[in-house]
């Protein structure tokens, strides 16, 4: 059913295009969206539920509160006027977040805060005390060394551990 629908749509599009080339200026051709839906007004929002789901401050405040009630998770100068490298910094940040999420699996209490001071990258993280301190030390050293070699600049981690996650409200 779906296959026939798409094929029918494609045929319809093709015929419309042929018609428009033939000289019908009023007919417009529309493409087919093939990505997943991602509405801007539903991004990073956890919807209200029964009241048993704990949220931290970061999750509870929605993205339009950034700059008003929330700060920025990533700090660098590339978004200033006439500064270069904004895209590179963003890609680095995304990679670092995924990397840390995987390396310290289950231990992250909150989002990462990534600060850049000159060419060093400082990763500030809040962790839960799920593994032994020695394991934490190893993972921190491993992360710092690997990321430093990967990005060719000093990478430092500042970790704080909590017993349990800080809850802001329940939804």
């Amino acid at each position: 059913m779906a296959a026939s629908l798409t094929s029918r749509c494609a045929m319809l599009g093709a015929t419309i295009r042929r018609l428009s080339i033939g000289g019908c200026p009023s007919l417009e051709v529309r493409g087919i969206h093939s990505t997943a839906i991602c509405y801007k007004n539903r991004a990073a929002r956890i919807r209200v539920g029964k009241g048993d789901r704990p949220l931290n401050y970061e999750q509870a405040l929605h993205p339009h509160q950034i700059g008003h009630r929330k700060g920025w998770l990533s700090a660098h100068t590339s978004n200033l006027h006439e500064e270069e490298g904004a895209a590179d910094r963003t890609v680095e940040d995304v990679f670092i977040r995924r990397f840390i999420f995987g390396t310290f699996h289950g231990c992250l209490a909150n989002e990462l805060v990534i600060k850049r001071r000159g060419n060093i990258i400082v990763i500030c993280a809040l962790m839960l005390q799920k593994v032994q301190p020695q394991k934490f030390y190893f993972l921190i050293g491993y992360t710092e060394t690997l990321l430093s070699h990967f990005y060719k600049c000093p990478v430092k981690m500042e970790i704080q551990t909590l017993e349990k996650k800080a809850v802001y409200k329940y939804v």
């Binding site: 931290n56 401050y57 970061e58 405040l61 509160q65 009630r69 929330k70 700060g71 920025w72 998770l73 700090a75 660098h76 100068t77 590339s78 500064e83 270069e84 490298g85 590179d88 910094r89 680095e92 209490a109 909150n110 989002e111 805060v113 600060k115 850049r116 001071r117 000159g118 060419n119 400082v122 500030c124 809040l126 005390q129 990005y151 060719k152 600049c153 500042e158 704080q160 551990t161 909590l162 017993e163 996650k165 800080a166 802001y168 409200k169």
Partner: protein, 335 residues
């Protein structure tokens, strides 16, 4: 098996030597013996036995935060020696941050991500800055006492160089805009005579500002700042030497190339002389035209006219200059 032999040998050792190791040592030996026996046994398959899983070893409690052990007169520069994110266990202030829930208060500092996001200046207390200054002082020298005013600085250092440094955060600290070098020099401080000055102004064209008498050379064609600086100094040297030289073709300078207006041999002079001669011709007869010319030019009215016209052409039309011209013309024509 090995443990039991170890025990007997230990006991025999103590008895034979007559030394009393004491209960502690014996218990230590026995404890180590029992511990080793527990772990050394193997399963048939070759996997070692894990320790008992039932009641787990109690989790080690985290120690008291550093804030509890802080004295009032501690050295804060030891707590925050350099820029670091906010550490709630190291900052003894009851700070709260965050938008409160309904009928609540802002969240406490423990586990507060908002406090970690913002930059803090805990490493820049006055005491810390004083320490930095004290450390840097041996490398500094006094400002020379004789350079006490701008005029003195300009007199001794007439060439001013400007270059920019850029600070940014990224994987590379290089910025291509740092290579630009600006060289500023006042032409009055250079040793130029009239011809050299005019030639210099003509050579540099736009780079000379007449109001401030400053020549500005901006170099950015080389990749390094040092190279651009050398190039700027080279340009200045070449300009200076070239403007002192007089080329053969400079003799062909026409009236249109002149920078200022000269009344001598101008149309205005010719017109004035013609007018005055015609005014005179009625009274005298034939005379030597050269002498007449000299006499006419020597008159004060003509001189005044000359001044006013030169001023008008060089400085432009203002109230003053127009009035002066009017007065001169009136006097010349006896009106």
């Amino acid at each position: 098996m090995s443990a039991s032999t170890m025990c007997t040998t230990a006991l025999s050792f103590t008895r034979t030597n007559g030394l009393c190791l004491g209960n502690y040592a014996l218990s230590l030996l026995s404890r180590t013996a029992t511990y080793s026996t527990a772990l050394s046994t193997n399963n048939g398959k070759g996997f070692p036995n894990r320790p008992i899983r039932g009641p787990r070893r109690p989790k080690r409690e985290s120690g008291a935060p550093r804030t509890e052990k802080m004295l009032e007169n501690q050295d804060w520069t030891a707590v925050y020696p350099s820029a670091a994110p906010f550490k709630p266990s190291a900052v003894p202030l009851p700070v709260r941050m965050g938008y409160p829930v309904n009928r609540g208060v802002p969240a406490e500092k423990k586990g507060n991500l908002e406090l970690m996001k913002i930059p803090n200046f805990l490493h820049l207390t006055p005491a810390a800055i004083q320490k930095h200054c004290d450390a840097l002082k041996p490398f500094c020298t006094e400002w020379p006492a004789s350079l006490d005013s701008d005029a003195a600085c300009e007199e001794h250092f007439p060439i001013q160089l400007e270059s920019k440094e850029f600070v940014s955060a990224g994987s590379s600290l290089r910025n291509p805009k740092t290579r630009v070098v600006t060289l500023k020099v006042k032409l009055s401080s250079l040793n130029l005579d009239e011809h050299a000055r005019k030639k210099m102004v003509k050579l540099v064209d736009d780079r000379y500002c007449k109001e401030t008498d400053t020549l500005t050379i901006v170099t950015e064609s080389c990749p390094l700042r040092q190279q651009n600086y050398d190039y700027a100094m080279y340009l200045l040297t070449v300009l200076y030497h070239e403007s002192w030289k007089t080329e053969v073709w400079e003799a062909e300078k026409t009236r249109a190339d002149m920078e200022e207006y000269h009344w001598e041999d101008s149309r205005s002079q010719k017109n004035v002389l013609d007018t005055l001669r015609r005014m005179r011709v009625t009274s005298e007869g034939e005379e030597d035209p050269g002498a007449v010319r000299e006499e006419l030019l020597g008159q004060p009215e003509v001189q005044e006219y000359r001044e006013s016209v030169t001023r008008l052409k060089n400085e432009g039309e203002t109230e003053e200059t127009m009035l002066q011209y009017r007065e001169a013309v009136k006097k010349l024509l006896n009106v």
